[in-house]
Symmetry: none
Subunit: 230 residues, 2 copies
DNA sequence: CAGGGTGTACCGCGTTTGTGGTACACCCTG
DNA sequence: CAGGGTGTACCACAAACGCGGTACACCCTG
């Protein structure tokens, strides 16, 4: 079978040579090209149609993040693995947004590098654990409240706002829960009350917000900042 | 220095024994306890205060996902690494939502397992590449592609904004309607289709956003700007 | 103390939503 | 042309929700 075509973009001459050397002993991977900058990135990918690209982030001229966007645009099926020393969050997310599917720190060992190239081609996303953690943290930010029936340490200091909307503190809490996407049952469990009581509060909320479904209430609350506390 | 305290939850006796055996030869990790089920998970973590927990997903009684929530609630600093054979998406996201910071497939080698335990304690998120890929795919969904290409002279055609979210154009429309608080009937009327078709599209939305109710979908969409057109 | 607001709880009833199927017609793309 | 994705539509069943009512125990405040 034909080896996997790999193109490398890495401005550091020593490191680029190391990579070339490394893959010279990897029969199933063929480095078809290696560039010290990304000026010709579009031509490079259209010409070589590589399965995988190893992309350094810090490069003069077009940097690796922008270049990644170009690669994915010119050849969507090409998998891009970022290679960097920095763990800067913004960089990471920009790269991932632009379509990178792997993200390795340069301190990764040679074996790991080689294996990562294979993995990304097989549909995986090799990622240094430190990077993965940052992605997960972001993931958590955007994912509210697990639905386990457990006491939630909630400090609603929102009394003033509550008054502004006419919602009672309790209703405010329930509204927050609604916005988190919880069902009556889950809210009941969370607050140790019966689902009927939840219903009562929710009826109060509907009356005061002039809505008549969960969906409207959530939409209203989020659009007006009544809940969702970003 | 004191070794890292590890607690294992794994119902398969053979595999649990293998793990015990494995860590017996790992001086910097001490398995303080290993259980075949999660019935006593809360007590276990409060008693042992482990730095790391290895948690199987498929277990009788309380499953690993639910147990993870309990662990994080009882001991927030404890890091939980999921261990599973399945690559089911919902499982993965539930576990991560509930606070797991690592996610390994059981086919991972012994060295990888040991290293993962160390890494998760050092602040990383060891993750099998196949898992990482799924997380990234989800990540992409929620990121309405702001290509950083400030310097990009080529004006990367953003033709497919809708595709960027992974939602089809139709699903995008339906999502907008949901955010407006419309019911199935109203959406059906608005788009001149049957309520069943609305349901189909909404199912597609739920699947892609990993939610399972109108409330969650609306909340998700608004928090991420997937809809609500600001 | 009487009355209003709040938080709690229960009941019933009809509607909406969620889940899991099957089906077919289109349009692509390999 | 076979196969995958999309958009359409239908069916059946269970769970969740919305609406109406009643009830009682608080804690205020007039």
């Amino acid at each position: 079978m034909t080896p996997l075509r790999l193109v490398i973009f890495e401005d550091n001459n020593d490191f680029r040579e190391s990579l070339l050397h490394l893959f010279r002993f990897t029969p199933d991977v063929e480095v078809v090209a290696a560039y010290p900058d990304c000026s010709g990135v579009r031509n490079a990918v259209t010409q070589w149609k590589p399965e995988v690209v190893l992309m350094d982030i810090d490069m003069p001229g077009l940097n690796g993040i922008e270049a990644t966007a170009v690669v994915k645009e010119a050849s969507p099926t090409t998998q891009v693995v970022m290679l960097t020393v920095s763990e800067e969050e913004d960089r990471i997310f920009q790269a991932l947004r632009n379509g990178a599917t792997g993200y390795l720190l340069k301190k990764s060992g040679p074996d790991e590098l080689v294996e990562s190239v294979r993995l990304v081609h097989k549909g995986g996303s090799p990622m240094s654990p430190a990077i993965a953690r940052k992605v997960l943290q972001f993931f958590h930010l955007t994912q509210a409240t697990p639905q386990t029936a457990a006491a939630a340490p909630k400090t609603v200091e929102t009394d003033d706002d509550a008054l502004a909307t006419g919602l009672t503190p309790r209703e405010q809490e329930i509204l927050e829960a609604l916005v988190d996407g919880l069902s009556y049952k889950m809210i009941a469990a969370k607050h140790f009350i019966s689902t009927d009581t939840v219903k009562n509060h929710i009826q109060g909320i509907y009356r005061k917000l002039h809505v008549n479904s969960k969906g409207e209430a959530i939409s209203f609350a989020l659009k007006r900042g009544l809940a969702g506390n970003r």
